[in-house]
């Protein structure tokens, strides 16, 4: 099903900050139309890994390949120019700008106004709203609304729609569902799925196994900076994955923890308990 040459590949990538080794011999592949879930506990090195892909950090050693050819990113712009779009946890970074304006920062559509070239606000709003609605977010219909007034899920959705609109080939999402409630998270997961169907490669970072299983085709578990497991959908059960992520913690403890967590998520925030 997947093409033979991965759109993005890491070969033996290592990263250390001075004396601290953060990543060891990371080798991963991600193909077009496929979601790679990067799982791992806090501090495992997930963010460091995606910062390398986003051009924020340079690997200490190892190679990054795109379409089978080695590439080097000196700065985030280089990665972006090659079609790698990285979204951080809170989506839109310009909360006080309108949807239309923030969508087009740096690539503003323009029109003639007498002798002047001006920002085409109407067109920007129309395109931005359409791009988001194409992902099924019909609640957004006014491009003049401020990004900061949208829900976390809507912001993530706009950011994803933006990346797709501008031709991203690889979409990297760093814990996009971590701060979201169940409904909002489901919303974002649906959009991740839609993005994959449009032929993009998605790298989805999470430590919520349920979310990973909902969209992932391919999974990699990172423990203390090394790939502890690399497997495809259906190869492992949820229990096995959680066990792996915990790196040896007993299954029973985990189950109990997970149950409690899921309940909190579905019913109410823990702080609102009865008295």
């Amino acid at each position: 099903m997947a093409p033979i040459i991965p759109v993005l590949e890491l070969r033996d990538v290592e990263k250390s900050f001075g004396p601290i080794d953060v990543l060891h011999e990371i080798s991963l592949k991600v193909h077009e139309g496929e979601v790679l879930c990067l799982l791992g506990d806090n501090g495992a090195g997930k963010s460091t890994l995606i910062k390398i892909l986003a051009g924020v950090h340079k690997p200490t050693s190892g190679t990054i390949l795109m379409d089978g050819k080695p590439v080097e990113f000196d700065r985030p712009r280089d990665a972006a120019d090659r079609g790698i779009a990285t979204l951080h946890q809170f989506g839109g970074t310009f909360p006080l700008m309108s949807i239309g304006r923030s969508f087009f920062v740096g690539v503003e559509p323009q029109k003639k106004w007498g002798p002047f070239t001006v920002f085409d606000r109407k067109k920007a709003n129309e395109i931005a709203v359409k791009a988001v609605r194409d992902f099924g977010i019909t609640r957004i219909d006014d491009g003049d609304r401020l990004v900061g007034g949208l829900s976390g899920g809507e912001r993530q959705s706009i950011a994803i729609a933006r990346a797709v609109y501008f031709g991203a080939r690889v979409l990297i999402l760093d814990e996009p569902t971590a701060a979201l409630g169940v409904k909002q998270a489901a919303h974002v997961l649906r959009i991740v799925n839609e993005t994959k169907q449009r032929g993009l490669a998605v790298i989805f970072i999470t430590h919520q196994v349920m979310h990973a299983l909902a969209v992932g085709d391919h999974f990699a578990v990172l423990i203390r900076g090394a790939v502890a497991a690399d497997f495809r959908k259906g190869d492992k059960t949820r229990e096995e994955i959680t066990d792996l992520m915990a790196g040896g913690e007993s299954m029973a403890d985990l189950e109990a923890e997970l149950e409690g967590y899921a309940q909190n998520q579905e019913e109410r925030p823990p702080s609102l308990g009865h008295t």
């Binding site: 712009r77 972006a80 923030s102 920062v105 070239t117 001006v118 920002f119 609304r145 900061g148």
Partner: protein, 331 residues
């Protein structure tokens, strides 16, 4: 009603309401004759001189930076004009060019230091403020032996920069209106304006999206420093002399005008129209007090109150703008 709630979501809403409130306050408690107040030149002249500096200072603030060196750039502009064209007798065009060049140079240095170091621009421009004060004083005393230099400008320069229209209104008012229109156009209608907002929202993201943040920052610093030296130049031509002192009030006055005008101190939000009305509000409070029976010493208290009330309203309206959901479905 719908129109009104739309108005409240705009950055300039609070300052327009404050301006109206101040006028009403002066009429009720100060017995101001509105005809006299609106016919008077003093507050309009005051607003124009302040407004030309406040707008670029406001743009810098929207982009996330601060420039307080303007306090020294006003005497720098007037002294440069007076020394070159008054003391040395060069043509006035040379003096004017000199004044603007000093503005461009200091703005450039402020900008370069801001983008090349991690020192906050408040500290950098505090440094250039103090340094420029020293330079102006030393240069003036060294070159002319005096701290005050006379200047006689030719008619054309008087007409364009130092005229009193109708014997009372400074011609700089027209410059203020023109510059307000130009800056409003650039900030709200062009891509450059979008870049400025994006930079104030998140500089790193803006840079990663391909915006030349360093270049824009340097240009904005050049604009604020040269706007201040332009005002100084106009004052020298109007008053036929220049002094090394003065201008320090502009720092405080411009920042208050900008903040009352709805610009977010931390950047990313604001409007030129808001800064325009913020300046008018400040000028009416500061100069309008002379038309009241209120002791003028109270004017600072009123400015303080207006500042707090306007900032409070700005916060509220910004919340409103953020939580705004269009209700098209409702009848």
């Amino acid at each position: 009603m719908n129109e009104f709630s739309h108005f409240l979501r705009r950055p300039e809403a609070a300052t327009i309401i404050s301006l109206a409130a101040v006028i009403v306050f002066y009429v009720i408690f100060g017995g101001v004759d509105l005809g006299k107040l609106f016919g008077a030149a003093s507050w309009v002249n005051f607003a124009a001189n302040l407004g030309i500096v406040a707008i670029p200072v406001g743009l810098l603030m929207i982009s996330g930076e601060l420039d307080i060196s303007i306090g020294a750039m006003i005497p720098a502009g007037s002294m440069t004009t007076a020394i070159l064209s008054g003391y040395y007798g060069y043509p006035i065009a040379i003096g004017m060019l000199g004044a603007l060049s000093v503005g461009i140079l200091v703005g450039f240095v402020n900008g370069i230091l801001t983008v090349r170091t991690t020192v906050p621009s408040l500290i950098i421009t505090l440094g250039s403020l103090v340094a420029m004060q020293g330079i102006i004083l030393s240069a003036s005393v060294l070159l002319t032996g005096n701290a005050s230099v006379p200047l006689t400008a030719p008619d054309w320069a008087k007409f364009a920069f130092g005229q009193l229209i109708g014997g009372s209104h400074q011609v700089i008012i027209i410059w203020w209106l023109i510059l307000t229109a130009i800056f409003a156009f650039v900030l709200h209608r062009t891509s450059y304006g979008n870049w400025i907002f994006a930079m104030g929202g998140d500089r790193d993201s803006a840079r990663n999206l391909g915006i030349p943040t360093s270049k824009v920052t340097i240009i904005l610093f050049i604009l604020s420093a040269s706007a201040a030296s332009f005002v100084g130049m106009c004052q020298a031509i109007l008053f036929n002399s220049a002094q090394v002192s003065g201008g320090m009030n502009f720092i405080f006055n411009a920042i208050v005008s900008v903040v009352v005008g709805g610009v977010l101190l931390t950047g990313g939000f604001g409007s030129v129209i808001g800064i325009f009305f913020g300046t008018l509000t400040f000028a009416i409070v500061n100069q309008g007090i002379y038309f009241t029976q209120i002791d003028r010493n109270w004017s600072n208290l009123i400015i303080g109150a207006v500042l707090l009330i306007a900032v409070g309203m700005n916060e509220t309206f910004r919340e409103k703008a953020l939580s705004y959901v269009p209700k098209k479905m409702k009848a």
